[in-house]
Symmetry: C2
Subunit: 466 residues, 2 copies
């Protein structure tokens, strides 16, 4: 509804998303003034469509939504995506009243509404891009089901994921939440075979208890990771305007999330990274990590981050130590962390060292940092093989860095090998910390970070920074 | 020295870097077995080169370095870059002895040595890529002088900077530090007209006092930002192997850095971001920030980050408020943060709002977050104009997000307009926090972060995480 050939209209972008996104089902543009839109036969109203309609996508002005919804009831359309804005989020109280009216009508009619005031939704495996952003068709398929209260954050996370080749099952912009709430999506994604982990971006909730109870019922069946914004006074106020909900005290939310076995994170990037590692890696049996790196500096940084995350870098068993010493010349760090540097020119040695560390029973997971460029690019292929053989048994988190665009093929092979790749050692270490914390949550234990992440800069507000 | 046509040799990669990097000076390959290398006349020894030689680049085995250095003394070469490894960093004590011998000889001969055990150095404005990584020729020219004790971290930072179009003046890998130390480079970069900010990555120092005193003497003439690794036991031990220096207690370092007016950061990424904002933006007159965003979610997140960084989001003056209300319809957040969302379709309104916020005397800096895609890409051009007009007077930090590769042109225009762009609101907010902290350091004041960055996750080790 609102389909258009005029590029300045949202209804044009939505048609572009659907058509160019390669949706394999039928698309019926609805526009009373046109016979054809985007080269497809157009209909004056949803009632005139000869086929059964599964989803009504609305990009019409707010004042028309109620009428179009009535048509949908007559046509027995089970679901509607209302992209249109101008409801509960506006200053004028008429917006809130209109939204209430629509919610009541839709609920009576048995129509589930995503929105209003949303950028849309995507079923990435199903090639459905029902959003006003055609570029989101470039999202890669994967195991993350992402439900977000903000279109901006959805786009931010989506664009980062494209750059880093992290895949999604579904991406849903909830908007103002008319009669479909976070809890409904969690229930749905918990049963969705494409979804391995549920990621939530929350600003404010009207009925937080429902979500908490829904997540608690999962009992670790699928991980739920949540990033909650609206912690400061200014952003809390902003939340009310944005999607009509007060953000509320973060501390109260955090305690409730923890009780429901939800994993909380501190930024959109950490939400993506944590969902990525949970969707990709098996759960580790403990917090002992082996840090291996092709360049000693990256290994040092990763070791620092692991310590901050409460992870342990145990010494290797005598057997592992012997295996590594047989492969590395006596001019490098052979304990934990291990500097693979001197094995650069010898992919077999590098492979043997990674395998030795992975097979050490004292090691629960591995972080492997490598910088690739002309001088050593051929070694990436061997490393992908090691990861492919090992990443099913223990988590292998890689930080493979390369000049942008240059070695995409080599890095892509690593990504496809089953490991989880991160652009910096910090992001890899933090993701592993969260993976370990989640395994503890599932097992009813708790671990804590060893030191504040910001121990260098006023960790508790007592020390002045700088 | 060690120049080669054999792609498996470091001396091949170095020649490739020099030649393809477009160095405008003369390059003399030295290789006793060849008449020509990389199509250039080759010399058997440095003594046979007819011209004056400014820099000897050594990619020969460790055992030859002493002999080659003697040739350099005879030839009166003032500086040497020793890429060769196998000195103080190796387990065998002969490495340390060889390095001491070389250091003594070079210092007696008046030869300044960068290295040994380094990836190299770059003068980006001068198109000199004297490193074993040809891809580093893609570094963009800019105001950051970066001195690093790790090749891996230099590459990591360099690759991120390429992706984000952040420019460097010089990049120097110090390696084992034979007779050129951090303090020498700080002295040099302090006088270098291309360098606006000095960024240091430090693992361990033999003579920390010298660096501290050197930086203290700058008295804020140029900002010095430092990321110090080697904080945990494991990484401290690794440091000793890596470049032959114990990392030492981080707390002692941090206190000394602070007294010398150096700004400390917590990751390689934060080092880059902080150097970027210091090289690009004027210093703010205070900690009051206006947060403007094209999508409310990004503004909320940025507001949270600003609060965490100890920044204030003051209410606007009545004049500013009136100006903004005249431009925005009554369906959006018009206080601070401001949601520009409804002004999407109206670049003039968006421009007017940003200008109003910038002209408010209560506002010391602006964070502007925008997601761009098909639906609004044309608005980026107008925004670049606003920033070009304003970014000289007050810091304007942008978080302009776009699908990778798609709108590079539009974003590039913003980058060239004088603002500092960051990929996430978190990185923008953290960079602004550091910019404000630096302005306080220069003015002899101190501000502190409002809350720990990890208030959600065991900020002081007391609360269990998860």
């Amino acid at each position: 509804m609102g389909a258009s050939d005029d590029a300045t209209k949202l209804g044009y972008q939505v048609m572009k998303s659907l058509v160019e996104g390669g949706f394999p089902g039928r698309i019926f543009p609805v526009n009373p003034g046109r016979n054809e839109v985007w080269g497809l036969p157009a209909y004056a109203a949803v009632g005139e469509i000869p086929n059964k309609v599964d989803l009504a996508i609305m990009a019409v002005p707010a004042r028309h939504v109620m009428r179009v919804l009535a048509d949908c009831r007559t046509k027995r359309v089970p679901g509607a995506l209302v992209i249109t804005a101008g409801f509960k989020e506006i200053e004028d109280k008429s917006g809130g009243r209109l939204q209430e009216e629509i919610a009541r009508f839709a609920t009576d009619a048995g129509i589930a509404i995503i929105g209003p005031n949303t950028f849309g939704l995507l079923d990435v495996h199903g090639s459905l891009n029902a959003s006003f952003t055609p570029e989101l068709s470039r999202l890669e398929p994967g195991g993350i089901g992402f439900v977000s209260q903000s279109g901006g954050i959805s786009h931010l996370v989506g664009f980062i994921s494209m750059r880093e080749h992290i895949g999604f099952s579904k991406v849903v912009g909830l908007g103002n939440r008319c009669n479909v709430e976070f809890s409904h999506l969690v229930d749905y994604l918990a049963e969705d075979p494409d979804t391995r982990v549920i990621a939530l971006y929350i600003e404010g909730l009207d009925t937080p208890r429902t979500l908490i109870e829904t997540c608690a019922r999962l009992r670790g069946k699928k991980p739920v990771v949540v990033y909650k914004a609206g912690r400061s006074g200014a952003s809390d106020k902003a939340s009310q305007f944005h999607t009509g909900s007060l953000a509320g005290s973060y501390e109260i939310y955090r305690g409730a999330f923890r009780q429901a076995r939800m994993l909380t994170v501190e930024s959109a990037e950490e939400l993506l990274d944590t969902a990525h590692v949970l969707a990709t890696c098996p759960l580790p049996k403990g917090n002992a990590v082996a840090v291996l790196s092709g360049q000693a500096g990256l290994g040092m940084v990763a070791s620092d981050v692991c310590a901050r995350e409460g992870l342990a870098l145990p010494p290797f068993s005598p057997l592992t130590r012997n295996r590594i010493e047989a492969l590395l010349p006596p001019l490098s760090i052979r304990s934990n962390p291990v500097d693979l540097g001197p094995a650069w020119a010898n992919p077999d040695a590098a492979r043997g060292i990674v395998e030795a560390a992975l097979e050490d029973t004292k090691v629960h997971s591995v972080i492997l940092c490598m910088v690739y460029a002309s001088v050593n690019r051929t070694a990436a292929h061997e490393m992908a093989k090691v990861i492919r053989n090992s990443a099913r048994r223990k988590p292998v988190l890689t930080c493979f860095c390369a000049p942008p665009g240059l070695w995409e093929e080599d890095i892509a092979e690593v990504l496809e090998s089953g490991g989880a790749n991160f652009p910096t050692p910090d992001r890899a270490g933090r993701a592993l910390g969260n993976l370990v914390r989640y395994s503890q949550i599932v097992n009813g234990k708790r671990i804590r970070r060893g030191r504040s992440r910001t121990s260098g800069n006023s960790p508790n507000g007592k020390k002045p920074a700088g």
